[in-house]
């Protein structure tokens, strides 16, 4: 298990829809310069990939006219001095377009404004497994730094050649190379002019430490922000290539239903409407969204439905249908839990549950498909452009080289946009129509046919000594996953286990994966243990915690919050929780108020301390941290997917409650900048400790321990 959950290694949970990387790249060197113009280019090649390339059958050899496969990043310095960085990662609101450009500008010693990023385009950018797991900052940032450093070396060498000097004494700064001895200098643009120089990244090239960053580390505003406040930015849903039709897909009445009969004659008779029936796929494309809807409504289909389980049986089902024996990688044990439990001064066992919740990205799943000469181009808001490309190639029996997936900066994803559903639908319709087709899922489709953050049951057994030292810890997660399953506390006797259960609803990645569920259970349980030995919850955590980074975030959050606080009014409560995942650390404090008559729970204040190593952009980071806190309070308090017999019962914003302005408390994010620690990702971890901090505050206010997420979908009425 520790292998899989290694802190700096993406855990390819089944919920990540992990596909084996399929390395392929067809852009020839001359094409590269044709697209970008002459200049200087540097490519980062994954170290082990070079060896693999030489041995793997069918892989072409790497020679001058062809770019190598397995390139992880590259950079181009143009004749006009413009710098272009390339990454297969997608911009989905997490602000990587800005943060990565900062990184390049910083390392290459050029103004921020001269750098642009080309992202997530399978024809132009390096292969990338996907924008998930908080991997962009820890993996792509150092790679872009290394290619930038190598480009700097190349520019210095070019200047040295020009001046007939040794490169050693020359300095690269302010987008030019200077010879300090003579004072003369050449701009990067001048050095790049007329050249088509390439270099593969040297194995090791020193990069600038965070303490010496000048452009990285700064609160630079979002690139292209003006395009967003003027409505000019084109998301996938906004694209309208000439001749485009609007596509809609006929959905079954329930999950797993199969088509038994279909009368599409009325739809087919409509002017300009294309109807596609292919197995259970039924879809239409029409000149306007309105006509597409009319055509869809005119199709009369019969479906065979299958009975399936509902909300009310969910948690018993999860317990009863767990795999009899979990795989070794899902289990971890040390010491003797049984012995420690038998000898514990206090024992506490509890069961926690977590509901299915929806990502509900505001831009629904969408794609525009265009076929030309047997080749397929897709614009789609996905976190996994290359995996989408491969899926499309597979579905349409095409070579990968005939499919291009382009990801316009996307209206959020939160782990919800890994699959290529809308893309496949648009492509199928476009092939039949012979024209480009756009498919935009309705909100109801988004809530029904996407996938969910998996539900789960978590069982904890624990024991502590009379002085509050944790002695026994046993933790079982059924179904929701194993991210964040390991306890950060010092406990000699422990057992953790993840139990797989067959899927009930289609499930997948969600911001933080199961770390939110596992942290909710663990941090709620720790709070209950602190209460059992009558210790302050923060003091109790500190007593059992030696990890210095975790202690630091707890101290920082506690300090800003004013922990421990005295209650000044009735119904007031304070709670704290902490955690670490994917190389970053979080601690959250919550103040809540329970209304005396309505028993409604109101979050008054959230304070969160977060540490992810050296901060690349504090403004973007603050947005992500605050955003995760607000998203986290939805799942904590009221978000839940209700379902019955294969139907989602609340597939609308009116019935699926998510955080709105009135739900947002006073929020404070304390960002700890550790320039001595490599930057980790920050998109996910800040969500993890919100729910338990709130739950612990509710307990503090009321004495009621809430072990089920969401905790108070209807206020505290039943409690």
């Amino acid at each position: 298990m520790s292998n899989v959950e290694g802190k700096l290694f993406i855990a390819p949970e089944r919920f990540e829809f992990s596909a084996a990387p399929f390395h392929q790249f067809d852009l020839a060197r001359r094409d590269f310069f044709k697209i970008l113009g002459a200049g200087i280019a540097v490519f980062a090649i994954a170290k082990d990939a070079l060896a693999a390339q030489e041995t793997a059958p069918g892989h072409r050899s790497f020679h001058n006219e062809e770019l190598p496969k397995d390139i992880s990043a590259w950079l181009h310095v143009g004749e006009d001095g413009r710098i272009t960085g390339f990454t297969g990662k997608a911009e989905i609101g997490q602000n990587i377009r800005t943060a990565l450009a900062q990184t390049i500008a910083d390392e290459l010693r050029v103004p921020f404004e001269s750098v642009r990023m080309v992202t997530a385009d399978t024809a132009l950018t390096p292969f990338d497994a996907g924008t998930f797991g908080s991997r962009t900052t820890p993996t792509i940032t150092p790679q872009l730094r290394r290619v930038s450093a190598a480009a700097r070396d190349l520019l210095i060498e070019a200047a040295a050649k020009e001046w007939n000097l040794a490169p050693a004494g020359l300095v690269a700064a302010d987008a030019k190379v200077t010879d300090p001895a003579s004072g003369r200098s050449l701009k990067y643009a001048e050095l790049a002019r007329g050249k088509t120089l390439t270099r593969n990244l040297p194995a090791e090239d020193p990069i600038t430490p965070a303490t010496q960053w000048t452009i990285a580390g700064k609160a630079i505003p979002k690139v292209d922000a003006r395009a967003f406040v003027t409505g000019k930015h084109q998301y996938t849903t906004d694209l309208r290539p000439a001749g485009m039709l609007y596509g809609r897909v006929l959905r079954p009445p329930s999950f797993g239903a199969t088509l038994t009969s279909c009368d599409d004659s009325a739809a087919k008779a409509m002017t300009g409407v294309v109807v596609v029936r292919d197995g259970d796929f039924v879809g239409v494309a029409a000149p306007s969204a309105h006509e597409a809807q009319t055509a869809l409504d005119a199709i009369h289909a019969q479906w065979k439905e299958v009975p399936q389980i509902s909300n009310k049986e969910l948690f018993s089902y999860l317990k009863q249908n767990a795999a009899a024996k979990s795989e070794d990688r899902f289990r971890k044990q040390k010491g003797s839990v049984e012995e420690a439990l038998a000898n514990a001064a206090h024992r506490l066992d509890a069961t926690y549950t977590v509901a299915y919740i929806a990502h509900a990205p505001l831009e629904p799943r969408a794609a525009v498909a265009q076929w030309a000469d047997g080749k397929l181009t897709l614009w789609t808001g996905t976190q996994r452009p290359f995996a989408n490309r491969d899926e499309l190639a597979d579905v349409f029996h095409l070579p990968e080289s005939s499919v291009r997936v382009i990801v316009p900066d996307t209206g959020s994803a939160y782990g919800g946009k890994h699959t290529s559903d809308a893309a496949i639908e648009a492509a199928r319709l476009a092939r039949a129509a012979g024209r480009p087709v756009k498919v935009v899922w309705t909100r109801e489709e988004e809530f029904t046919w996407a996938y969910f953050r998996p539900a789960g049951v978590i069982e904890v057994k624990s024991g502590i000594a009379s002085d509050g030292a944790l002695t026994a810890w046993e933790f079982h997660n059924y179904h929701s996953g194993m991210s964040g399953i390991e306890t950060p506390y010092d406990v000699a006797n422990q057992r953790t286990e993840y139990h797989q259960v067959p899927l009930i609803l289609r499930s997948g990645s969600y911001r933080g994966l199961a770390a939110t569920a596992n942290h909710f259970a663990r941090e709620t349980h720790m709070d209950a243990l602190a209460n059992a030995v009558k210790m302050d919850p923060l003091e109790f955590r500190m007593k059992n915690l030696s990890n210095a980074r975790m202690r630091a975030v707890l101290e920082a959050a506690g300090k800003s919050f004013g922990w421990p606080r005295k209650k000044t009014q009735e119904g007031q409560g304070f709670g704290i929780a902490c955690g670490d995942e994917k190389g970053s650390y979080v601690a959250t404090c919550a103040e809540i108020a329970v209304d005396k008559t309505s028993r409604a729970v109101r979050i008054v204040r959230l304070v969160e301390a977060f540490e992810c190593g050296a901060i690349v952009n504090p403004d973007g980071l603050r947005n992500q941290v605050v955003g995760a806190m607000i998203q986290g309070l939805g799942g904590a308090l009221f978000e839940a997917i209700e379902f019955e017999n294969g139907r989602i019962k609340n597939p609308h914003f009116a019935s699926y409650r998510l955080p709105r302005f009135r739900d947002v408390p006073e929020i404070e994010a304390v960002l700890l900048d550790r320039k001595d620690i490599p930057s980790a990702g920050a998109g996910e971890t800040p969500i993890m400790a919100v729910a338990p901090a709130i739950g612990n505050a509710i307990f503090d206010a009321t004495g009621v321990r809430l072990n089920n997420l969401p905790m108070v979908p209807n206020g505290l009425r039943s409690a």
């Binding site: 922000a225 409505g231 831009e363 998203q631 009116a654």
Partner: protein, 159 residues
């Protein structure tokens, strides 16, 4: 097709040949390419499609095109004046009040509507007014701050 409906959008009048019950949002986006107004739910529950109709913020996904004919329509694309941003746009820009920014057009249009009716709203009034606008990225505090700043800017410049 019935006789064309005439719409006034961002100061210009256009005849529109759409069925009377077509939601205004689709006409704006698909006919005029004014894609700054977004589809978020089609149910009037998220505010991403907000435009001003006769100066009032309205969910364009819920307004039949025929009902939009009587009054001038302003979309996000019509807010800039002489190449300059509207103070609300400027305030959102200054506050970095967006992440994925898909909700931003609707947030801005709602806020412009609020400030036209109430030039100096309290924090509680801003929160109440924007309750129907969803930001799934959780950028709410910055949006509220942006609206406060915009109000200040507009008062200082007498706009």
């Amino acid at each position: 097709m019935a006789k064309p409906i005439e719409l006034e959008i961002n100061g210009n009048r256009y005849p529109v040949n759409y069925p009377a019950d077509t939601p205004l949002l689709y006409v704006l986006r698909d006919e005029f390419g004014l894609t700054g107004s977004k589809y978020g739910c089609g149910e009037g529950q998220c505010g991403a499609c907000t435009v001003l109709i006769g100066g009032m913020p309205r969910r364009s996904c819920q307004i039949p095109v025929s009902a939009a004919a009587a009054k001038p329509i302003t979309t996000i694309e019509g807010l800039e004046k002489d190449g300059g941003l509207n103070p609300v746009q400027q305030a959102f820009l200054d506050a970095g009040a967006f992440q994925c920014a898909y909700c931003t057009s609707g947030m801005i249009m709602s806020s412009v509507g609020l400030l036209q009716a109430n030039p100096n709203p309290s924090q509680a009034e801003i929160v109440q007014f924007l309750q129907g606008n969803v930001c799934r990225c959780g950028t709410h505090p910055r949006v509220v701050e942006a609206v406060r700043q915009a109000a200040k800017m507009m008062q200082e410049h007498g706009r």
